[in-house]
């Protein structure tokens, strides 16, 4: 999630209200998602069905769900706001910050996750590095997932209050209860079906904004010229040209941080080891589908900036006050004090600009669908990790399958209740949300170091994996505290430049913590005894015969489609260089 999106909590003014037509569209959506929960309940009786959707999803469904689970509305609105603030640079979080990692997951890592038949990422760590690594990652993942769910929930409520004037408690409970019902009833299967539906709805509700905006601006070239005139430079419409130094772009990052911090560590950490998204791919019905799902997801992910980044950039050109002057959006805290509009309001403002009754309802439904897909992703992943990797591993090891399914349903409800409680607690301490966001990131970068060494390096040992993960996590927390205590001077040391801005801290902290994790893992591994090849079969490259995925023609080969996506990815980066 975009840290800047957290400023959304400072929004104050109500923007619009819904007509009967809009409310009909919204109610229709709620009716369908609840119906789906009841409809699939009958086919979620075993733990495999409840937690992994019976491993019978096609590549398309797993791939769309994979993208949708990540595409919360906070993600949508936060990055649209960042696009207004930083320009097209925000696209990096959708392209270099996602596409290479998604392709790597599909082609290199998925075979190991899939053939090990693990139920979760902590489960894979247990198979590869033993109980210590599993306990550490499962505990941190469960805790952070539930807290992030609470943050998302409260953010949704504030957005609804801001746009429509809805009561915050009403919004929290309606969203939470709806998600709890359909996930509790239908488990991952229900969550996945709804996520695919939500992905389509997000496009149906949001795609009109960039289409109409580009018509109003007179096309992309005119838009670039208008933005250059309005902001006084061309840096807002270039992806890479202004990233040579920290000082040459509005985000205060450089290409090294983007490529190695974001592209190589944060992105790979999130997309290949965060169980929230990996769980969707584990539901695939065969190895080829499991490899294809992230490739399909990557293709769709590449298109998302059209409905997120383009509206934010368009606003720099077309968003005007009623008197015809340019509207200037400001950070959330300033907006709260001055009654201006905040960066994060850019998407609703553009929605209201172009959409009358009916279309407005569709746009609001798209935002709600985004929030609910994010919430369902959190709660279904929490329920799985809790049941398999904490309850089943340490509290009740020998229960029946039926008991674990019941635990999965109960933990969905309990997880949602804790999320609601955390939403209210966090609501009254806005700075905590920054810490929660940071806490979440502490575990991503080192976890990727541990998992990737575990998969690709036979010599990595149980002790190496555990101490590497621990060292990476502790060092990440240490750097976070150091920068928050030391301010700009400390940030300059972490990011290696006095011109670095806060966004650079996340990238460089991730890079350092990953390097520390890898270094400690390697050193400790060489000091301890490795497992034999036979013990590592099915878990590590070089000790595992990768089974044939059944592709016979070029069109069936995941590597071919991954290459196509990679070529388009490079082409887009050159096009917007």
């Amino acid at each position: 999630m975009n840290p800047a999106a957290l400023s959304m909590f400072a929004l104050t003014t109500q923007l619009t209200s819904l007509s009967a037509l809009d409310i009909t569209i919204l109610l229709l959506y709620f009716a369908v998602v609840i119906f789906i929960g009841f409809y699939v309940k009958g086919s979620t009786n075993t733990s495999e069905e409840f937690f992994l959707a019976g491993r019978e999803m096609s590549a398309w469904i797993a791939g769309l769900s994979f993208v949708s689970a990540n595409l919360g509305s906070l993600e949508l609105m936060g990055w649209a706001g960042s696009a207004y603030q930083y320009g097209i640079l925000a696209t990096h979080w959708y392209w270099i910050g996602a596409i290479p990692a998604m392709l790597f997951l599909g082609i290199v890592m998925m075979p190991f996750y899939y053939i090990s038949k693990t139920h979760s990422v902590p489960g894979y760590l247990q198979l590869r590095f033993g109980e210590g690594a599993r306990a550490l990652s499962a505990t941190s993942f469960g805790l952070m997932t539930i807290l992030m769910s609470g943050v998302n929930m409260y953010a949704m409520a504030v957005v609804m209050k801001t746009i429509l004037g809805w009561n915050i408690t009403f919004s929290i409970w309606v969203g939470a209860v709806t998600v709890a019902i359909y996930v509790m009833l239908g488990g991952l299967r229900s969550a996945i079906i709804n996520e695919v539906l939500q992905f389509i709805l997000i496009w149906a509700g949001a795609a009109l904004i960039p289409i109409l905006g580009l018509i109003e601006a007179g096309g992309w070239h005119n838009l670039k010229a208008q933005i250059a005139q309005n902001v006084g430079n061309t840096s807002y419409t270039h992806l890479w040209a202004n990233t040579g130094t920290f000082a040459s772009n509005p985000m205060g990052v450089n290409w090294f941080g983007l490529v190695f911090g974001l592209g190589a560590v944060v992105s790979f950490g999130y997309w290949t080891t965060d169980f929230l998204v990996v769980q969707r791919v584990l539901s695939a019905n065969n190895l080829r589908a499991a490899k294809m799902a992230p490739v399909i997801g990557a293709a769709f992910k590449m298109a998302v900036p059209f409905i997120v980044i383009v509206p934010g950039i368009l606003a720099l050109s077309v968003l005007k006050n009623p008197d015809g002057s340019m509207m200037h959006l400001v950070p959330g805290d300033i907006a709260a004090a001055t009654h201006q509009h905040a960066y994060d309001e850019v998407l609703p403002l553009m929605l209201i600009r172009y959409c009358g009754p009916g279309l407005l309802g569709l746009g609001i439904t798209a935002l709600v669908a985004g929030f609910m897909s994010g919430m369902a992703g959190n709660v279904s992943a929490f329920s799985t990790v809790w049941t398999y990797d904490l309850y089943g591993a340490y509290i009740n090891k020998k229960a029946s399958d039926k008991h674990y399914v019941a635990m999965g349903r109960w933990s969905t409800v309990v997880g949602m209740l804790i999320s609601i409680a955390s939403a209210y607690i966090l609501a009254h301490a806005s700075s905590i949300m920054d810490y929660v966001q940071a806490l979440f990131s502490f575990f991503i970068a080192p976890l990727f170091g541990t998992v990737i060494l575990g998969m690709l390096w036979k010599r990595a040992t149980k002790a190496g994996g555990f101490y590497g993960l621990l060292a990476g996590t502790v060092s990440s927390i240490g750097m976070f505290i150091y920068v928050h205590q030391g301010g700009k001077a400390a940030l300059a040391k972490i990011a290696l430049s006095p011109d670095a801005q806060p966004m650079a801290e996340n990238l460089f902290r991730a890079l350092w913590s990953w390097l520390i994790c890898v270094f400690v893992t390697v050193v400790v591994s060489y000091m301890t005894t490795p497992k034999t090849d036979a013990e590592l079969e099915g878990l590590v490259y070089g000790a595992t015969a990768i089974p044939d995925d059944g592709a016979t023609t070029l069109w069936q080969k995941p590597i071919f489609w991954a290459s196509v996506v990679a070529v388009v990815f490079v082409g887009l980066n050159l096009l917007f260089f």
């Binding site: 699939v40 959707a53 999803m57 389509i200 109409l212 209201i352 009358g356 279309l359 569709l362």
Partner: protein, 80 residues
């Protein structure tokens, strides 16, 4: 088997996608037509392009195709 819903169910996930978008198209299209031809367009920017009508038409066509293409058929096995 309905793809994406599970064993023992006949409704495909794509059928849900179709029925949902068709329903939205059916709601938006008549309103868009009324707004356009009755000169009741909401005071939004570019309302002269009648986006509600065209978007409603697009959703109706998309949803109609998916609903028809993935509708549960009488010969389906494992009907719920």
């Amino acid at each position: 088997m309905g793809e994406g819903t599970g064993r023992g169910e006949s409704l495909s996930i794509w059928f849900f996608v179709g029925i949902m978008t068709l329903a939205y198209g059916v709601v938006l299209l008549p309103y868009g037509a009324w707004a356009w031809f009755g000169h009741h367009e909401a005071p939004t920017v570019l309302n002269n392009l009648h986006p509600t009508f065209w978007w409603g038409l697009l959703l109706t066509a998309f949803g109609g195709f998916y609903t028809a293409r993935f509708r549960p058929k009488s010969g389906d096995k494992n009907r719920a």
